[in-house]
Amino acid sequence: MSSGPLTRIGSWAARWLSQLGALARFGFGGARAAALLPRAGRAVVLRVTLNQIRFTAVHAMGLVILLSGILSFLVISQAVRELGQIGATDLIGTLMVVAIVRELGPLITALAIVGRSGTAIAAELATNTVMGEARALEGMGIDPRQYLVLPRFIGAVASVFALLVLFDIVAITAGFAAAGINGMTGTRYAEIVLQSLSAHDVWLTVGKALAFGLILGIVPSYFGLSVRRAATEVPIAVSRATVLSIVGVFLCSALFVLLG
Protein backbone atom coordinates (compact mmCIF):
# COMPACT_ATOMS: atom_id res chain seq x y z
CA MET A 1 0.00 0.00 0.00
CA SER A 2 1.51 3.36 -0.99
CA SER A 3 1.48 6.14 1.59
CA GLY A 4 0.47 9.68 0.68
CA PRO A 5 2.49 12.78 1.48
CA LEU A 6 0.25 13.59 4.45
CA THR A 7 0.83 10.15 5.92
CA ARG A 8 4.57 10.53 5.48
CA ILE A 9 4.57 13.98 7.09
CA GLY A 10 2.41 12.60 9.90
CA SER A 11 4.72 9.68 10.58
CA TRP A 12 7.78 11.98 10.39
CA ALA A 13 6.18 14.35 12.90
CA ALA A 14 5.19 11.45 15.15
CA ARG A 15 8.78 10.17 15.10
CA TRP A 16 10.11 13.62 16.04
CA LEU A 17 7.56 14.07 18.80
CA SER A 18 8.33 10.64 20.14
CA GLN A 19 12.05 11.49 20.13
CA LEU A 20 11.35 14.76 21.92
CA GLY A 21 9.24 12.91 24.48
CA ALA A 22 12.03 10.41 25.06
CA LEU A 23 14.54 13.24 25.49
CA ALA A 24 12.25 15.01 27.96
CA ARG A 25 11.72 11.79 29.94
CA PHE A 26 15.49 11.24 29.95
CA GLY A 27 16.10 14.79 31.20
CA PHE A 28 13.46 14.61 33.94
CA GLY A 29 14.71 11.17 34.96
CA GLY A 30 18.20 12.59 35.31
CA ALA A 31 16.93 15.49 37.43
CA ARG A 32 15.01 13.06 39.65
CA ALA A 33 18.09 10.84 39.98
CA ALA A 34 20.04 13.90 41.17
CA ALA A 35 17.68 14.30 44.13
CA LEU A 36 18.46 10.76 45.31
CA LEU A 37 22.25 11.21 45.46
CA PRO A 38 23.86 10.34 48.81
CA ARG A 39 26.55 12.62 50.29
CA ALA A 40 29.54 10.61 49.06
CA GLY A 41 27.92 10.34 45.62
CA ARG A 42 27.54 14.11 45.46
CA ALA A 43 31.28 14.49 46.02
CA VAL A 44 31.98 12.13 43.10
CA VAL A 45 29.52 13.97 40.87
CA LEU A 46 31.13 17.29 41.81
CA ARG A 47 34.57 15.96 40.87
CA VAL A 48 33.36 14.67 37.49
CA THR A 49 31.46 17.94 36.91
CA LEU A 50 34.58 20.03 37.52
CA ASN A 51 36.47 17.80 35.12
CA GLN A 52 33.72 18.29 32.54
CA ILE A 53 33.85 22.08 33.00
CA ARG A 54 37.64 21.98 32.58
CA PHE A 55 37.23 20.17 29.28
CA THR A 56 34.15 22.00 28.00
CA ALA A 57 34.83 25.56 29.19
CA VAL A 58 38.49 26.02 30.13
CA HIS A 59 39.93 24.11 27.18
CA ALA A 60 37.52 25.86 24.78
CA MET A 61 38.41 29.39 25.91
CA GLY A 62 41.07 29.86 23.23
CA LEU A 63 38.68 28.83 20.47
CA VAL A 64 35.90 31.10 21.74
CA ILE A 65 38.27 34.05 22.13
CA LEU A 66 39.52 33.53 18.58
CA LEU A 67 36.04 33.20 17.05
CA SER A 68 34.58 36.07 19.02
CA GLY A 69 37.54 38.40 18.42
CA ILE A 70 37.68 37.83 14.67
CA LEU A 71 33.91 38.01 14.18
CA SER A 72 33.55 41.21 16.15
CA PHE A 73 36.62 42.82 14.55
CA LEU A 74 35.34 42.07 11.04
CA VAL A 75 31.77 43.18 11.68
CA ILE A 76 32.69 46.42 13.49
CA SER A 77 35.45 47.31 10.98
CA GLN A 78 33.04 46.97 8.06
CA ALA A 79 30.25 48.74 9.94
CA VAL A 80 32.40 51.74 10.91
CA ARG A 81 33.49 52.17 7.28
CA GLU A 82 30.08 51.67 5.65
CA LEU A 83 27.89 53.37 8.25
CA GLY A 84 30.41 56.22 8.54
CA GLN A 85 29.78 57.11 4.89
CA ILE A 86 26.10 57.75 5.58
CA GLY A 87 26.66 59.25 9.04
CA ALA A 88 24.95 56.41 10.87
CA THR A 89 27.75 55.23 13.16
CA ASP A 90 25.33 55.28 16.10
CA LEU A 91 23.92 52.06 14.69
CA ILE A 92 27.16 50.26 15.57
CA GLY A 93 25.92 49.85 19.13
CA THR A 94 22.71 48.24 17.94
CA LEU A 95 24.66 46.04 15.56
CA MET A 96 27.03 44.93 18.29
CA VAL A 97 24.29 44.15 20.80
CA VAL A 98 21.59 42.74 18.53
CA ALA A 99 23.70 40.84 16.02
CA ILE A 100 26.69 39.75 18.08
CA VAL A 101 25.76 39.72 21.77
CA ARG A 102 22.16 38.51 21.40
CA GLU A 103 22.24 36.22 18.38
CA LEU A 104 25.60 35.29 16.86
CA GLY A 105 27.47 35.03 20.16
CA PRO A 106 25.23 32.36 21.72
CA LEU A 107 24.89 30.54 18.38
CA ILE A 108 28.61 30.39 17.64
CA THR A 109 29.45 29.49 21.24
CA ALA A 110 26.89 26.70 21.22
CA LEU A 111 28.15 25.38 17.87
CA ALA A 112 31.74 25.41 19.16
CA ILE A 113 30.65 23.42 22.23
CA VAL A 114 28.65 20.96 20.12
CA GLY A 115 31.71 20.40 17.94
CA ARG A 116 34.16 20.03 20.81
CA SER A 117 32.23 18.63 23.75
CA GLY A 118 28.87 17.39 22.44
CA THR A 119 30.61 14.92 20.17
CA ALA A 120 33.02 13.94 22.96
CA ILE A 121 30.19 13.35 25.46
CA ALA A 122 28.22 11.24 22.98
CA ALA A 123 31.30 9.21 22.01
CA GLU A 124 32.38 8.73 25.63
CA LEU A 125 28.98 7.58 26.86
CA ALA A 126 28.50 5.35 23.81
CA THR A 127 31.88 3.77 24.53
CA ASN A 128 30.91 3.37 28.21
CA THR A 129 27.83 1.50 27.01
CA VAL A 130 29.62 -0.67 24.46
CA MET A 131 32.31 -1.57 27.03
CA GLY A 132 29.58 -2.71 29.43
CA GLU A 133 30.34 0.04 31.97
CA ALA A 134 26.82 1.50 31.98
CA ARG A 135 25.36 -1.99 32.43
CA ALA A 136 27.81 -2.71 35.23
CA LEU A 137 26.70 0.48 36.99
CA GLU A 138 23.08 -0.62 36.79
CA GLY A 139 24.05 -4.07 38.00
CA MET A 140 25.65 -2.49 41.08
CA GLY A 141 22.51 -0.51 41.84
CA ILE A 142 23.82 2.82 40.52
CA ASP A 143 21.63 4.83 38.18
CA PRO A 144 23.92 5.53 35.17
CA ARG A 145 22.27 8.94 34.88
CA GLN A 146 23.65 9.88 38.30
CA TYR A 147 27.24 9.12 37.47
CA LEU A 148 27.39 9.53 33.70
CA VAL A 149 24.74 12.11 32.76
CA LEU A 150 24.30 14.50 35.68
CA PRO A 151 27.89 15.82 35.78
CA ARG A 152 27.90 16.34 32.03
CA PHE A 153 24.58 18.16 32.16
CA ILE A 154 25.63 20.50 34.99
CA GLY A 155 29.01 20.95 33.31
CA ALA A 156 27.39 21.86 30.00
CA VAL A 157 25.07 24.49 31.54
CA ALA A 158 27.90 26.10 33.54
CA SER A 159 30.29 25.99 30.58
CA VAL A 160 27.83 27.51 28.10
CA PHE A 161 27.12 30.35 30.51
CA ALA A 162 30.82 31.03 31.19
CA LEU A 163 31.74 30.90 27.50
CA LEU A 164 28.83 33.16 26.52
CA VAL A 165 30.01 35.80 28.98
CA LEU A 166 33.56 35.39 27.68
CA PHE A 167 32.36 35.67 24.08
CA ASP A 168 30.51 38.92 24.83
CA ILE A 169 33.45 40.48 26.69
CA VAL A 170 35.91 39.60 23.92
CA ALA A 171 33.46 40.73 21.21
CA ILE A 172 32.96 44.15 22.81
CA THR A 173 36.71 44.54 23.39
CA ALA A 174 37.59 43.50 19.83
CA GLY A 175 34.92 45.88 18.55
CA PHE A 176 36.58 48.63 20.55
CA ALA A 177 39.90 47.88 18.81
CA ALA A 178 38.26 47.70 15.39
CA ALA A 179 36.46 51.00 15.90
CA GLY A 180 39.71 52.66 17.02
CA ILE A 181 41.64 51.38 13.99
CA ASN A 182 38.90 52.69 11.72
CA GLY A 183 38.92 56.19 13.18
CA MET A 184 36.27 56.14 15.90
CA THR A 185 37.25 57.29 19.39
CA GLY A 186 37.09 54.81 22.22
CA THR A 187 34.80 57.04 24.26
CA ARG A 188 32.30 57.31 21.42
CA TYR A 189 32.36 53.52 20.86
CA ALA A 190 31.83 52.81 24.55
CA GLU A 191 29.02 55.35 24.73
CA ILE A 192 26.99 53.94 21.83
CA VAL A 193 27.52 50.29 22.82
CA LEU A 194 26.56 50.94 26.45
CA GLN A 195 23.47 52.83 25.30
CA SER A 196 22.32 49.76 23.36
CA LEU A 197 22.99 47.25 26.16
CA SER A 198 20.17 46.65 28.64
CA ALA A 199 19.25 44.36 31.52
CA HIS A 200 17.20 42.43 28.98
CA ASP A 201 20.45 41.31 27.31
CA VAL A 202 21.78 39.97 30.60
CA TRP A 203 18.61 37.91 31.17
CA LEU A 204 18.69 36.75 27.56
CA THR A 205 22.26 35.52 28.04
CA VAL A 206 21.24 33.63 31.19
CA GLY A 207 18.17 32.18 29.45
CA LYS A 208 20.10 31.08 26.39
CA ALA A 209 22.90 29.59 28.51
CA LEU A 210 20.34 27.52 30.38
CA ALA A 211 18.45 26.45 27.26
CA PHE A 212 21.54 25.66 25.18
CA GLY A 213 23.18 23.99 28.18
CA LEU A 214 20.09 21.77 28.53
CA ILE A 215 20.32 20.79 24.88
CA LEU A 216 24.08 20.25 24.93
CA GLY A 217 23.95 18.28 28.17
CA ILE A 218 20.96 16.07 27.45
CA VAL A 219 21.02 15.32 23.71
CA PRO A 220 24.58 13.89 23.47
CA SER A 221 24.09 11.94 26.72
CA TYR A 222 20.80 10.48 25.47
CA PHE A 223 22.24 9.32 22.17
CA GLY A 224 25.45 8.12 23.83
CA LEU A 225 23.53 5.86 26.20
CA SER A 226 21.10 4.69 23.50
CA VAL A 227 23.64 2.43 21.77
CA ARG A 228 23.48 -1.24 22.59
CA ARG A 229 26.57 -3.40 22.21
CA ALA A 230 28.20 -2.87 18.82
CA ALA A 231 31.14 -0.49 18.42
CA THR A 232 29.77 0.41 14.97
CA GLU A 233 26.89 2.19 16.72
CA VAL A 234 29.25 4.74 18.30
CA PRO A 235 29.79 6.98 15.22
CA ILE A 236 26.07 6.78 14.40
CA ALA A 237 25.19 7.94 17.92
CA VAL A 238 27.75 10.77 17.71
CA SER A 239 26.42 11.88 14.33
CA ARG A 240 22.79 11.86 15.50
CA ALA A 241 23.67 13.70 18.69
CA THR A 242 25.56 16.38 16.75
CA VAL A 243 22.81 16.93 14.19
CA LEU A 244 20.02 17.07 16.75
CA SER A 245 22.03 19.37 19.04
CA ILE A 246 22.66 21.82 16.17
CA VAL A 247 19.00 21.72 15.08
CA GLY A 248 17.93 22.15 18.70
CA VAL A 249 20.19 25.16 19.22
CA PHE A 250 18.91 26.90 16.07
CA LEU A 251 15.25 26.15 16.84
CA CYS A 252 15.73 27.34 20.40
CA SER A 253 17.38 30.52 19.15
CA ALA A 254 14.41 31.16 16.85
CA LEU A 255 12.05 30.53 19.75
CA PHE A 256 13.82 33.16 21.83
CA VAL A 257 13.32 35.71 19.00
CA LEU A 258 9.64 34.76 18.64
CA LEU A 259 9.06 35.09 22.36
CA GLY A 260 10.69 38.51 22.25
Binding site: L36, L37, P38, R39, A40, G41, A43, V44, N128, M131, G132, E133, R135, A136, L137, E138, G139, M140, G141, I142, D143, Q146, Y147
Partner: protein, 225 residues
Protein backbone atom coordinates in the same frame (compact mmCIF):
# COMPACT_ATOMS: atom_id res chain seq x y z
CA UNK B 1 14.03 -21.02 53.89
CA UNK B 2 13.79 -18.67 50.88
CA UNK B 3 16.03 -19.62 47.96
CA UNK B 4 18.43 -16.72 47.21
CA UNK B 5 18.08 -17.21 43.46
CA UNK B 6 15.54 -19.12 41.39
CA UNK B 7 15.19 -19.31 37.60
CA UNK B 8 11.77 -20.55 36.54
CA UNK B 9 11.11 -21.79 33.00
CA UNK B 10 13.23 -19.24 31.14
CA UNK B 11 13.47 -19.56 27.39
CA UNK B 12 17.15 -19.00 26.60
CA UNK B 13 18.46 -18.44 23.06
CA UNK B 14 17.34 -20.81 20.31
CA UNK B 15 13.92 -22.05 19.31
CA UNK B 16 13.92 -25.71 20.20
CA UNK B 17 15.49 -25.67 23.61
CA UNK B 18 13.72 -26.60 26.79
CA UNK B 19 12.94 -23.87 29.34
CA UNK B 20 15.70 -23.28 31.87
CA UNK B 21 14.96 -23.78 35.56
CA UNK B 22 17.37 -23.79 38.46
CA UNK B 23 17.24 -22.96 42.15
CA UNK B 24 20.21 -22.05 44.34
CA UNK B 25 19.99 -22.97 48.00
CA UNK B 26 21.61 -20.67 50.58
CA UNK B 27 25.38 -21.07 51.04
CA UNK B 28 25.78 -23.00 47.79
CA UNK B 29 28.31 -22.29 45.07
CA UNK B 30 26.81 -23.33 41.75
CA UNK B 31 28.39 -23.03 38.31
CA UNK B 32 26.45 -23.16 35.05
CA UNK B 33 28.71 -23.65 32.06
CA UNK B 34 27.88 -23.62 28.38
CA UNK B 35 29.11 -22.44 25.02
CA UNK B 36 28.14 -19.15 23.37
CA UNK B 37 25.10 -20.71 21.71
CA UNK B 38 23.73 -22.14 24.94
CA UNK B 39 22.42 -18.82 26.28
CA UNK B 40 24.36 -19.18 29.53
CA UNK B 41 25.60 -15.59 29.16
CA UNK B 42 22.02 -14.33 29.61
CA UNK B 43 21.59 -15.73 33.11
CA UNK B 44 23.44 -12.95 34.96
CA UNK B 45 21.42 -10.20 33.28
CA UNK B 46 18.17 -12.00 34.03
CA UNK B 47 19.19 -12.58 37.66
CA UNK B 48 19.92 -8.88 38.22
CA UNK B 49 16.80 -7.78 36.32
CA UNK B 50 18.96 -6.01 33.74
CA UNK B 51 17.01 -7.81 31.06
CA UNK B 52 13.54 -9.31 31.23
CA UNK B 53 12.97 -12.79 29.82
CA UNK B 54 10.17 -13.21 27.27
CA UNK B 55 8.62 -15.88 29.49
CA UNK B 56 9.23 -17.41 32.90
CA UNK B 57 10.67 -15.42 35.77
CA UNK B 58 13.69 -15.01 38.01
CA UNK B 59 13.27 -14.51 41.72
CA UNK B 60 15.98 -13.14 43.97
CA UNK B 61 15.15 -13.57 47.65
CA UNK B 62 11.59 -14.22 46.43
CA UNK B 63 11.46 -10.90 44.55
CA UNK B 64 11.32 -10.40 40.79
CA UNK B 65 13.81 -7.53 40.44
CA UNK B 66 12.77 -6.64 36.89
CA UNK B 67 9.20 -5.90 38.11
CA UNK B 68 10.27 -3.33 40.72
CA UNK B 69 10.10 0.45 40.02
CA UNK B 70 13.53 1.88 39.13
CA UNK B 71 14.60 3.29 42.53
CA UNK B 72 13.58 0.08 44.35
CA UNK B 73 15.18 -2.01 41.60
CA UNK B 74 18.49 -0.18 42.01
CA UNK B 75 18.32 -0.46 45.79
CA UNK B 76 17.50 -4.17 45.63
CA UNK B 77 20.47 -4.87 43.35
CA UNK B 78 22.80 -3.65 46.09
CA UNK B 79 21.88 -6.82 47.98
CA UNK B 80 23.43 -8.83 45.13
CA UNK B 81 27.12 -8.68 44.21
CA UNK B 82 27.67 -8.66 40.47
CA UNK B 83 30.79 -9.26 38.44
CA UNK B 84 29.82 -8.73 34.79
CA UNK B 85 31.57 -10.39 31.87
CA UNK B 86 34.46 -8.18 30.76
CA UNK B 87 34.72 -6.63 34.25
CA UNK B 88 32.76 -3.43 33.45
CA UNK B 89 35.33 -1.33 35.31
CA UNK B 90 35.11 2.40 34.60
CA UNK B 91 38.19 3.37 32.61
CA UNK B 92 38.44 6.90 33.98
CA UNK B 93 38.69 5.76 37.60
CA UNK B 94 41.49 4.03 39.47
CA UNK B 95 40.83 0.46 40.61
CA UNK B 96 40.41 1.81 44.16
CA UNK B 97 37.80 4.35 43.04
CA UNK B 98 36.03 1.64 41.03
CA UNK B 99 35.74 -0.44 44.21
CA UNK B 100 34.47 2.57 46.17
CA UNK B 101 31.92 3.62 43.56
CA UNK B 102 28.95 1.43 44.66
CA UNK B 103 29.52 2.48 48.28
CA UNK B 104 29.65 6.16 47.34
CA UNK B 105 26.43 6.01 45.32
CA UNK B 106 24.56 3.36 47.25
CA UNK B 107 25.17 4.07 50.93
CA UNK B 108 24.94 6.94 53.38
CA UNK B 109 28.36 6.15 54.82
CA UNK B 110 30.80 9.02 55.27
CA UNK B 111 33.76 9.32 52.87
CA UNK B 112 36.09 8.24 55.71
CA UNK B 113 34.03 5.12 56.43
CA UNK B 114 33.99 4.28 52.73
CA UNK B 115 37.75 4.74 52.41
CA UNK B 116 38.24 2.47 55.40
CA UNK B 117 36.00 -0.23 53.97
CA UNK B 118 37.71 -0.02 50.58
CA UNK B 119 41.16 -0.29 52.19
CA UNK B 120 40.09 -3.53 53.89
CA UNK B 121 38.71 -4.99 50.64
CA UNK B 122 41.82 -3.98 48.69
CA UNK B 123 43.97 -5.93 51.11
CA UNK B 124 41.58 -8.91 51.04
CA UNK B 125 41.82 -9.23 47.25
CA UNK B 126 45.61 -8.56 47.31
CA UNK B 127 45.40 -5.44 45.21
CA UNK B 128 47.42 -3.08 47.39
CA UNK B 129 50.20 -2.42 44.85
CA UNK B 130 47.87 -1.91 41.88
CA UNK B 131 44.95 -0.13 43.55
CA UNK B 132 45.85 3.31 42.27
CA UNK B 133 46.26 2.21 38.66
CA UNK B 134 43.54 2.71 36.11
CA UNK B 135 42.08 -0.41 34.46
CA UNK B 136 44.07 0.19 31.26
CA UNK B 137 47.31 0.25 33.28
CA UNK B 138 46.50 -2.95 35.20
CA UNK B 139 46.84 -6.53 34.01
CA UNK B 140 43.91 -8.90 33.54
CA UNK B 141 44.30 -10.53 36.93
CA UNK B 142 44.40 -7.17 38.73
CA UNK B 143 41.31 -5.99 36.87
CA UNK B 144 39.48 -9.18 37.83
CA UNK B 145 40.51 -8.77 41.45
CA UNK B 146 39.19 -5.19 41.38
CA UNK B 147 35.92 -6.27 39.75
CA UNK B 148 35.40 -8.94 42.41
CA UNK B 149 36.30 -6.46 45.15
CA UNK B 150 33.66 -4.10 43.77
CA UNK B 151 31.11 -6.95 43.69
CA UNK B 152 31.65 -7.73 47.39
CA UNK B 153 31.84 -4.08 48.50
CA UNK B 154 28.40 -4.25 50.16
CA UNK B 155 29.19 -7.69 51.60
CA UNK B 156 26.20 -9.26 49.79
CA UNK B 157 24.81 -12.67 50.63
CA UNK B 158 24.34 -13.51 46.94
CA UNK B 159 26.98 -13.15 44.22
CA UNK B 160 26.50 -13.47 40.47
CA UNK B 161 29.79 -13.88 38.64
CA UNK B 162 29.93 -13.89 34.83
CA UNK B 163 33.05 -15.51 33.34
CA UNK B 164 35.01 -14.53 36.46
CA UNK B 165 38.05 -16.72 35.82
CA UNK B 166 38.54 -16.37 32.06
CA UNK B 167 42.12 -15.47 31.19
CA UNK B 168 43.59 -15.81 34.69
CA UNK B 169 45.60 -18.62 36.22
CA UNK B 170 44.02 -21.51 38.10
CA UNK B 171 45.83 -20.40 41.25
CA UNK B 172 44.46 -16.84 41.03
CA UNK B 173 41.01 -18.27 40.24
CA UNK B 174 41.04 -20.45 43.34
CA UNK B 175 42.17 -17.51 45.43
CA UNK B 176 39.41 -15.25 44.07
CA UNK B 177 36.79 -17.92 44.64
CA UNK B 178 37.75 -18.04 48.30
CA UNK B 179 37.32 -14.25 48.52
CA UNK B 180 33.94 -14.60 46.80
CA UNK B 181 32.84 -17.33 49.22
CA UNK B 182 33.57 -14.91 52.06
CA UNK B 183 34.54 -17.59 54.57
CA UNK B 184 32.87 -20.81 55.69
CA UNK B 185 29.85 -21.62 57.82
CA UNK B 186 28.43 -24.92 59.01
CA UNK B 187 26.13 -24.95 55.94
CA UNK B 188 28.83 -24.14 53.41
CA UNK B 189 30.17 -20.85 52.04
CA UNK B 190 29.05 -17.65 53.77
CA UNK B 191 27.69 -16.40 50.46
CA UNK B 192 25.52 -18.03 47.81
CA UNK B 193 27.31 -17.84 44.46
CA UNK B 194 26.21 -18.36 40.87
CA UNK B 195 29.07 -18.62 38.39
CA UNK B 196 28.38 -18.59 34.65
CA UNK B 197 30.87 -19.06 31.84
CA UNK B 198 32.20 -21.42 29.22
CA UNK B 199 34.81 -23.27 31.26
CA UNK B 200 36.09 -23.35 34.82
CA UNK B 201 39.50 -24.45 36.10
CA UNK B 202 39.31 -27.88 37.74
CA UNK B 203 40.51 -26.47 41.04
CA UNK B 204 37.52 -24.09 41.07
CA UNK B 205 35.08 -26.80 40.00
CA UNK B 206 36.18 -28.87 43.00
CA UNK B 207 35.17 -26.03 45.33
CA UNK B 208 31.71 -25.73 43.76
CA UNK B 209 28.78 -27.59 45.26
CA UNK B 210 27.31 -28.22 41.83
CA UNK B 211 28.61 -27.67 38.30
CA UNK B 212 26.09 -27.88 35.47
CA UNK B 213 26.66 -27.95 31.74
CA UNK B 214 23.90 -26.23 29.76
CA UNK B 215 23.59 -28.07 26.46
CA UNK B 216 22.43 -26.57 23.20
CA UNK B 217 19.26 -28.57 23.58
CA UNK B 218 18.55 -26.62 26.74
CA UNK B 219 19.08 -29.43 29.23
CA UNK B 220 21.17 -29.08 32.36
CA UNK B 221 23.66 -31.87 32.86
CA UNK B 222 25.44 -32.29 36.14
CA UNK B 223 29.22 -32.34 35.61
CA UNK B 224 31.38 -34.78 37.48
CA UNK B 225 34.71 -33.37 38.57
Amino acid sequence: MIAPLTFESLPLSGRTRAPFSLSLAPHQTVAVLGDEESGVDQLGGYALGLESPSAGRVRVFDTVIADLPLPERLAFRRRVGYLPAGDGLLQNLSLRDNIALPLRFGSDASPREIDGRVAVIVVAVRLTDAADRRPAQANEEERRRAALARAVAFDPTLLVLEQPFDGITARASAELLEVARGGETAEGARRTILITGQELPTVVQRRCDRVYRLTRAGTLELETV
